[in-house]
Assembly symmetry: C2
Homo-oligomer: 214 residues x 2
Amino acid sequence: MNKAISDKVIGRLGQYRRLLGRLAEEGARFVFSHDLASMARVTAAQVRRDLMVLGASGNPAKGYSVSGLLEDIEAFLDAPDGQNVALVGVGNLGRALLAFFAGRSTKLRIVAAFDANPEKTGRVIHGCRCYGMDALEAEIQREAVTVGVIAVPADAAQEIAEHLIETGIRGLLNFAPVRLSVPANVYVEDIDMTVSMERVAYMARQNAVSLEKL
Amino acid sequence: MNKAISDKVIGRLGQYRRLLGRLAEEGARFVFSHDLASMARVTAAQVRRDLMVLGASGNPAKGYSVSGLLEDIEAFLDAPDGQNVALVGVGNLGRALLAFFAGRSTKLRIVAAFDANPEKTGRVIHGCRCYGMDALEAEIQREAVTVGVIAVPADAAQEIAEHLIETGIRGLLNFAPVRLSVPANVYVEDIDMTVSMERVAYMARQNAVSLEKL
């Protein structure tokens, strides 16, 4: 069943979880699909279809139970015992990612970082121990890592990806500004902050220009 | 003319620039559209359509000039005098972004950072000065900032976005895990690293499961 679920649905479920978490903090006990839809900027029909994947159904009068949905999403999205993550590349970006993800989730933990620079070996950065590249396979096996984060320069990324895939990792979050070539059974998500920044800058200029023309 | 160019094209041009920069470093003088396409994981026809936006045309025998394309893309994507960027939210993520973007581009500079915490006012982090929120409008005017980066918690992001838009900013790079409500003439790009990580973890698990079933 799960094989048919697209990564788009998974992304939206993650987003709903965040919104529901905020609603729960604010004391809300129930939520209607159209309210969740409006917060997530999708249609109410989309929300209902996505939540059907969880087998969740709302009460026509009160909507969905906030805590019930949170439990359903957690049961669906998270591995029961969590998943361990390895990060490769402890430069500015890698350190930033360690800082950002440290303590953020109990279910997804960056348990090891790797860098080709021997000066980084043995250091503990934001609670995460750094290893040399030669320790990659052994540490990934030992920690049963299933997710890899690539934060190395573009010209090293493909080799690192292949190395991670050889250890059995099937999901990669790639921050290197390069498209990785991977087998069909490996999922890659690219985050290219430089391209995003350039695009926002370009669009900002176009919007400012069109504004001046008014 | 520029108004018809989609953000997808802009993103790909940024990506081609990065790939061409690497080719130039490696000493390549010419490149065929199918080679650039293969590096960018798009079709050669797509590359040629995108490059037509620049008015660039290749030589059938030698392909496109690498340095020529780099110049064309720069002329198209970048503001001649560069653009200034302001970052709001100097927590873990904000500091990480300052570290990542510091010195990365001569055309896009984060010239000011803002945070509600008065302890951060006056500090210089990765070369960028921090200000209190009350200085936002004046600094943005003074530095002629045209791009805003939002790195505040979810519940503060909408208010910050409105504040930035009031100062005249028309492009936002949003790292807060929330969909912003903005006027049609404001471009927003969302980067949600937590949702991305969760999605990669989920897909990694599915791929590992399907592997075990073989």
